[in-house]
Amino acid sequence: MAKKKEQVEHLLIPEHVKLNEKEKKALLEKYNIEVKDLPKILSTDSAISHLDVEEKDVIKIIRKSSTAGTSTFYRGVINE
């Protein structure tokens, strides 16, 4: 099945971005963790269907926050 590479646009779906290797390394170093210590996201999650992801990739999520305006969140991709 050909993947539809199209950003899911909906006001309730925050922006999902895949981190490149360099960014990923920097993130893991900053928090002194491994990918498995991050919160998880399924590779089949429809919010990241537009991204080309594999297991152990890291997804950056930019959300609206009632306390801080915007907040960034990270999730590690897992397979089912």
């Binding site: 900053k30 928090y31 963790i33 498995k36 210590d37 991050l38 919160p39 926050s65 306390t67 801080a68 907040s71 960034t72 969140f73 990270y74």
Partner: protein
């Protein structure tokens, strides 16, 4: 015990291994072999090799243990063992044995996996274990075992496998034929150590054949002590009885086997032995009749000692009780400080504080001993340095007074200023248990300042609270530094003071700062009643305003700006202005003084610290109450009176509402009612009527708010926010309004009508629960019925919702309990996994903020 006994830790636990005891292990740890069911000989002395053998531990005071040589309470007891004549199944391992039998070959004992796949499976298990933890590994083991149950040919020796079943509780059947425990044991013995890995078992600590008992450990007498009755008779523990049965049957079985008795008799005895061993471990096995006392009540054996609510875990370990605590009804006392608790004299003489005698306090402590236990302030006990506890009575007092010297401990009565912990259930947050100073008072209730009701969520309709007295210096220091009321002023939930004024304290300060004027004499009276001694802050005038009196309580260099929500925006008093400790404009209402609202109290706390803040809140609280005492304050019937014009206006509003409702109904009947999208015609009608009638109620409410007497005390309570609101007032004086059940008008009852006094299919307001009268005028009979319906509904609702939401909260708190904020501001769980990347997404510690925000403007102003 205590530190001074110099107990040096010479050994530390490095690891704990869970395994199953094999026969060798049991024999090694045992200090006696039990061979006879007899307990005592003719002289009443324990029989050697009996169940009460002296080598198994001491239960009689004065005797010494034959195994370890220590006295009662020091000797932990020692295990013994018995050799069983025939092997017996352990009831708790029935399932595991079945798994082994099903997953291994009946001939060669290998696991039913082809040789070439075994390593594959082992690797899989290891991977799961490393990546997802032990829980998942166990899951995987189960999965593998489940897949093996259907294989009917051994991949190693090609032997045919039969289906094995359990006939509960302890019989195994292979192809409808019974397999004896001996046969099972030989099969389990054949299983190779290497194959055990796939069962998730370490062969060093568990061998499958150990699941079948050939020797049985006898628990030490210390865990089954016998009691001597008053008649001198001995009564044995349930476990001892059960063990006696086992030994007796075992003995008979041995004899019969040796005598070469017929197989049937041996089988029977064997089954009986199996039954006794099974009920020894668990007397509540579903298929077995429980073993009973002669009186008929079932024996309490090992499983029932541990299991369930009355078992060791929930009753003795999780449910430990505490000494030095008290519980009674609470009642309010605004004259107490916020961090004090009033303790009844009777309690103060029961609860004690241990104080060690030194050269410097011996005279002081002697006074307590002289008073004894019955005169306050006295002392109940003296503890000698060797740990002996002596009660102080009229007889022993003189002698004890001579005996005491530094090093003794006196357990003296509670006195004012002692540290205590005060708690009200449900303890939902940390403010539910705070440290208070003791104030010993007459009466029988625990007293607290009503301002601390908010953190405890207490009221005085019969609430009870608990009091604990910490017994060591460390505990006292911790309670004082971490839990005293001062330390809990700012709520970590919303960053505002959780302790503030309520009820009369708010209305009092509201009236004072709104319009009161007092003579200097009266002002000084008021302030001294509150506890103020320095009156230099009072302006030297004959007539003083309430604001000037209130200002005396504020620190001199305090500056603040806020708003009074009780005042309309165009009024000068809407803005609270405090300059150099003087209230220039603004009225003190709930939005400024209330608990959990407004920044006034938060700013005082920030600038002057917690101890000062406690003082100030206490004074403001008392000032409010003193004002009301001086002025008089009554919520009276006439407060709900309306002028004639107002009443006419209200009548007009209601008549108008009736008219528009009939108009809507007419439109509905004619079929030209405009339908709301997504609704049927009938639903639209209901919604429109509800909307119209609610508007009518709101209109009457507004008329009441505007036209009723603004100078009444009831109005003062409503405006200040102390109690009640405008709707309550409108319901009393004008119109109660529409009663609603599940979001719509009342539609229940008979077919086509709610009550039999209405016509069928009447859609009018009064037939569906609109109450047009107020409480003061009185309700019509049918109106009363509707009121009762909604009243009962809401009662049921609260009664059902409270436990449900309580449980929901408990689950939430349990799920979040070991999350913590790390030094890099991430929130992580106990395993170090990240839950949140920045605490609260903004990294703010709410308890250090002002209502969850950091006021940068204020900080800059302070620095300048």
């Amino acid at each position: 015990m205590s530190l001074e006994e110099n107990q040096i830790v010479s050994k530390k636990i490095k690891s704990i291994v869970f395994g199953i005891m094999g026969p060798k292990f049991i024999k090694n740890m045992a200090s006696a072999k039990v061979v006879t069911p007899e307990l005592y000989d003719k002289e009443g002395y324990p029989v050697d090799g009996g169940l009460m053998d002296v080598r198994l531990g001491v239960i009689d005071p004065g005797l010494k243990c034959k195994t370890c040589g220590s006295k009662l309470k020091e000797c932990p007891g020692h295990f013994g063992y018995i050799e069983l004549a025939r092997p017996v199944i352990h009831i708790k391992f029935v399932k595991l044995i079945l798994d082994f039998l099903r997953c291994t070959c009946r001939d060669c004992g290998r696991i039913l996996i082809p040789q070439n796949k075994i390593t594959n499976y082992v690797d899989q298990l290891k991977e799961v274990g490393e990546e997802q933890g032990l829980e998942e590994q166990r899951h995987k083991v189960k999965e593998i075992m489940a897949s093996l149950k259907t294989i009917n040919q051994c991949p190693h020796c090609k032997a045919k496998q039969q289906l094995i079943k359990v006939e509960k509780p302890t019989t195994y059947l292979e192809d409808e034929k019974r397999i004896s425990p001996v046969e099972i044991r030989t099969r389990l013995e054949r299983i190779q150590d290497d194959d055990l890995e796939l069962f998730g078992i370490d062969s060093k600590h568990v061998r499958p054949e150990w699941l079948i008992l050939t020797v049985m450990p006898i628990p030490p007498v210390t865990m089954r002590p016998s009691i001597t009755l008053e008649s001198g008779e001995r009564s044995e523990d349930d476990l001892t009885h059960k063990l006696g049965d086992i030994v007796r049957i075992n003995q008979r079985l041995f004899e019969n086997i040796n005598a070469g008795a017929p197989e049937i008799i041996i089988e029977d005895l064997w089954d009986l032995l199996q039954y006794h061993v099974t009920t020894f471990f668990d007397n509540e096995v579903s298929q077995l009749p429980p073993a009973r006392h002669r009186s008929g009540q079932p024996l309490k054996t090992i499983t029932s000692r541990i299991k369930s609510k009355e078992g060791r875990i929930r009753h003795n370990l999780a449910g430990k009780r505490t000494n030095f605590s008290a519980r009674t009804v609470i009642s309010p006392d605004p004259k107490l400080n916020i961090n004090e608790v009033g303790v009844p004299m009777i309690i103060a003489m029961k609860l004690t504080v241990p104080e060690r005698i030194t050269d410097w306090n011996i005279a002081y402590l002697k006074k307590f001993i002289e008073n004894g236990a019955k005169k306050y302030p006295g002392a109940n006990y003296i503890i000698r340095p060797d740990g002996k506890r002596k009660k102080i009575t009229d007889e022993t007092r003189e002698q004890l007074l001579e005996e005491i010297q530094p090093g003794f401990i006196v357990e003296r009565h509670l006195i004012d200023g002692d540290i205590s912990l005060f708690n009200r259930q449900p303890s939902l947050h940390r403010m539910s248990m705070m440290c208070h100073r003791v104030r010993v008072l007459p009466g029988l209730t625990l007293r607290l300042n009503p301002a601390v009701c908010t953190p405890y969520n207490a009221d005085f309709d019969g609430d009870e609270m608990n009091l604990h007295i910490p017994q060591t210096e460390e505990a006292r220091a911790e309670a004082e530094c971490l839990m005293e009321v001062q330390t809990q002023l700012i709520s970590p939930r919303f960053g505002l003071s959780i302790i503030g004024c309520n009820q009369d304290a708010i209305s009092g300060n509201y009236l004072l700062t709104k319009e009161m004027e007092l003579s200097k004499q009266e002002a000084v009276d008021l302030l001294s009643a509150v506890g103020v001694t320095d009156f230099t802050k009072l302006p030297n005038k004959k007539v003083l305003s309430g604001k000037e009196i209130f200002s005396v309580l504020l620190p001199d260099n305090f500056n603040f700006r806020g708003i009074s929500k009780s005042v309309p925006e165009d009024h000068p008093d809407n803005k609270v202005v405090i300059e150099n400790g003087k209230l220039i404009s603004g009225i003190m209402d709930k939005s400024n003084l209330g608990s959990g609202s407004g920044l006034l109290l938060r700013n005082i706390h920030k600038k002057y610290g917690r101890d000062e803040m406690v003082e100030i809140i206490g004074r403001i609280y008392r000032l409010g109450i003193e004002v009301l005492l001086k002025k008089g304050f009554t919520a009276k019937m006439s407060d709900t009176d309306l002028t004639k014009e107002a009443e006419e206006q209200i009548q007009e509003v209601i008549v108008e509402a009736h008219k528009s409702v009939s108009k809507i109904i007419q439109q509905y009947k004619d079929g030209n009612l405009e339908v709301i999208p997504g609704r049927t015609m009938t639903e639209t009608l209901e919604l429109r009527i509800l909307e119209r009638l609610n508007k009518a109620r709101n209109d009457t409410g507004e008329i009441v708010a505007e036209r009723s007497n603004q100078k009444t005390d009831t109005m003062a309570m409503v405006r200040s926010g102390a109690r009640g609101n405008l709707i309550n007032l409108a319901q009393m004086s004008a119109c109660v309004g529409q009663q609603a059940l599940r979001g719509s008008r009342i539609n229940k009852g008979y077919t086509g009508r709610t009550l039999s006094c209405f016509k069928k299919n009447d859609l009018g307001p009064e037939a569906h629960g609109f109450i047009e009268n107020g409480f003061k005028k009185g309700l019509k009979p049918y109106e009363m019925f509707f009121m009762a319906m909604t009243g009962r509904d809401s009662m049921m609702d609260t009664a059902l919702r409270t436990p449900k939401s309580g449980y929901l909260y408990r689950r939430l708190a349990n799920a979040l309990q070991d999350l913590k904020v790390e030094y890099d501001f991430t929130v992580r769980d106990a395993a170090g996994k990240i839950i949140q990347f920045l605490y609260g997404e903004d990294g703010i510690d709410v308890s250090k903020s002002e209502a969850g925000k950091i006021n940068i403007k204020n900080i800059i102003r302070e620095i300048k």
